[in-house]
Subunit: 239 residues, 2 copies
């Protein structure tokens, strides 16, 4: 068995190497990479290696790296080991996981035993392991409780990027009025109206929506960067 560790923080990387060695004695080679790009290259060179990686890395995001790895070999088992359970991360991961692939999501604040257990469950038993806290935000995200549908989330991203209603409409192949309708639903789900009683008119709803989404960690810097890259691509194609 081979395991590839991708983590930019040297202390955390050392801790991970130790944890892998302790939890997986049957693992004969442990590879390490300090950045997303290097990790992708190593994964390409070792097609049978399982992966455990951080999500928050600069300059190449963990989600980007995971996406290219999974695109090249959809069966790879990946354990994400992250500091946060932000909805933006959770949603970003579940967006890119291929059908039937085993993966895990463990918080860095978890105990050593949790991490060891997750390592064995995924890489030996081929079983998905999602931390309880992460499950929480997952349920909150996809359940009825003010959860955003895929389409609504896309439009929220477009708004956060600063697109006009009209350009969102052409980009998503919708009518202008439909875009505005969805915005209405987004405002509703973000409780932009209920929160403030007499504070009517003090807020620009469009900007306020982005602010509350950021404060609730529904959006974060990584998600914005990815969306910005896609937008630039689309703009280029558009001419």
């Amino acid at each position: 068995m081979k395991v590839l560790v991708i983590e930019d923080d040297p202390l955390h990387r050392a801790y991970l190497l130790e944890a892998v060695a302790a939890a997986l004695p049957e693992c004969e080679t442990v590879l390490e990479a300090a950045a997303g790009g290097a990790g992708e290259a190593l994964a390409r060179a070792h097609p049978e290696a399982h992966v455990v990686m951080d999500l928050q890395m600069a300059p190449r995001n963990g989600i980007e790296a995971a996406r290219t790895i999974w695109r090249e070999r959809p069966g790879t088992r990946i354990l994400f080991w992250s500091n946060y359970a932000d909805e933006a991360y959770v949603r970003g991961v579940s967006r890119i996981v291929p059908d039937g692939a085993a993966y895990g999501y463990v918080l860095k604040s978890a105990s050593d035993e949790r991490l060891h257990l997750a390592l064995r469950s995924i890489f030996v038993e081929n079983q998905c392991v999602i931390d309880r806290e992460v499950r929480g935000t997952q349920a909150l995200s996809f359940g009825r409780k003010g959860g955003f549908s895929e389409g609504e989330y896309d439009i929220l991203l477009d708004v956060a990027l600063g697109l006009t209603d009209r350009s969102i409409a052409t980009r998503r192949n919708l009518s202008l009025r439909t875009v505005q309708n969805r915005l209405q639903q987004i405002y509703e789900k973000l409780d932009l109206h209920e929160g403030n009683p007499a504070a009517e008119g003090t807020f620009n709803l469009r900007a306020r929506a982005v602010a509350t989404a950021l404060l609730r960690k529904l959006l974060n810097h990584g998600a914005l960067e990815r969306a910005e890259a896609e937008l630039a691509e689309w703009l280029r194609r558009q001419g």
Copy 2:
């Protein structure tokens, strides 16, 4: 000499404790706290202790903790040890440092020697130490190169929070037209016009400004949270 270490990541905290012990043999007591609130309490109990702390902590931000510590004892020497040199962090720190106080800003990616040197310079020699990279964003922030003035930055924050032009005006005691003028300058400094050739009208400038500020790390989650808290306070006072 006493040193108080405030850092939520256990691995990093252990590393810091070791570094302090190695670099400052004259330090007889090392206190440690795993959160901002606990750090403030310990600082209150040990008025002569110097502080070395992380900036990015949940739930109580490092800047918040530093502010209350400095408010209670403005002479305290604080070394900030952070992962990032985001303009939002740098600006946040220089906003709260009292006149004449010695402080330092060292990146976690710095070498052991750099950290040791900084520890001795600040706590023994009473000298400010700012990492080269951090100095870079500092110069970029306050120089002529598209740097934002204090007032412009405030308005950028208000816009990011989703306030209306009118409410910004009343909050900052300005005319509505002045607010819009400053917004114009902000759009200019953010290159919202130059960047896109024929992409006229595809962007909502107000939202686009927030997006690019976030992407350039001029704003980040912590800054937004602080601004949101201040806004809530102002709204309550307003009635």
